[in-house]
Symmetry: C2
């Protein structure tokens, strides 16, 4: 079963080979994403493809500034986890990946957030099938990037996907067994 | 490209043939869903499979009661759209579909809503590949169903997916062209 194979194979990728994949492949994946269902069929998503080096660098700078603020004020479980995982405010993948895809949602549409993330799910599987890696990176505060791109106020940045050929040796993180997340005729 | 084909082919299904698909197929689709990425790899999802006739009927009753409240107070664009689309408070698919899958999200996990809906995206494509139809139905107020199932307070019902072999003649609703939802190096 193809979807199951792709879902199992797919892992988060934060390091990329420098070669730029064909834009055509990226657009194929976005064609799949835009077929997702949405509340009132409003299709509340907008995808901004960034391959301009200056713009990628600027997005990285803005995100890292917000990450530094976030890291300086985060405590407890989340910080412990971030540290144990080696997370740092630096996000080199934002300038190293050949492409960024910024996903926005139109906040006035019904179920806009849910619909937009279904589309992200479609996109992740499509990218995997094309041999492209990514991570669903979410900046702690999306405002500076929204301002940089003059995004209309009704749209909110949902995630920034750095996209390219994978070069990340980190293995896929384990998932719970089916019996731990599925039950029958009761919670 | 398989994912693109499935994404294009998939349409919302609200009417089902009475035959019950193999539980094995449903579980295959859920195996794909649980492979989705999630914030902190928290895997904040829980899937409740319902094939008990009494329980499906009770879920339908509770949802329809909430739908009647919702319809009696909804006005404006959304109501006009609901009426033009023939939406009614009756949701026969909740008892007619051979299966319901109730998807819950653990609200204490980081990015739980986003992660859960990526998993729903995976699930929709997996179901399509297996020839199974569904609709991402969201009750206007999930509380009564949560109470019925004694759901722990940290979990929230995200959607109820009625699942079975499609018998819905409604065509797929159109999607915008790629150029309307994608832009390059700017919003």
């Amino acid at each position: 079963m193809r979807v199951l194979d792709l879902a199992r194979r797919r892992k988060t990728v934060r390091k990329f080979r420098p070669e730029r994949p064909p834009m055509e492949d990226l657009l194929k994946a976005l064609k799949a994403a835009k077929e997702a269902p949405s509340g009132m069929n409003a299709q509340p998503w907008k995808f901004v493809v960034v391959d301009d080096e200056w713009l990628k660098g600027r997005i990285r700078e803005l995100c890292e500034a917000e990450e530094r603020k976030f890291h300086s004020k985060t405590k407890g479980d989340l910080m412990a986890w971030l540290q144990s995982e080696g997370f740092r405010p630096e996000k080199p993948f934002l300038s190293e990946a050949p492409y960024l895809v910024l996903v926005f949602g139109h906040t006035k549409a019904p179920y806009w957030l849910q619909s937009t993330w279904i589309a992200v799910g479609y996109l992740l599987l499509a990218l995997e099938e094309l041999g492209l890696g990514t991570v669903t990176y979410t900046p702690p505060n999306p405002k500076p990037v929204e301002n940089l791109l003059n995004v209309p106020p009704q749209y909110k940045l949902q995630t920034i996907l750095p996209i390219g050929y994978p070069a990340d040796p980190a293995p896929k993180r384990g998932r719970r067994r089916l019996g731990e997340v599925v039950s029958f005729n009761g919670f």
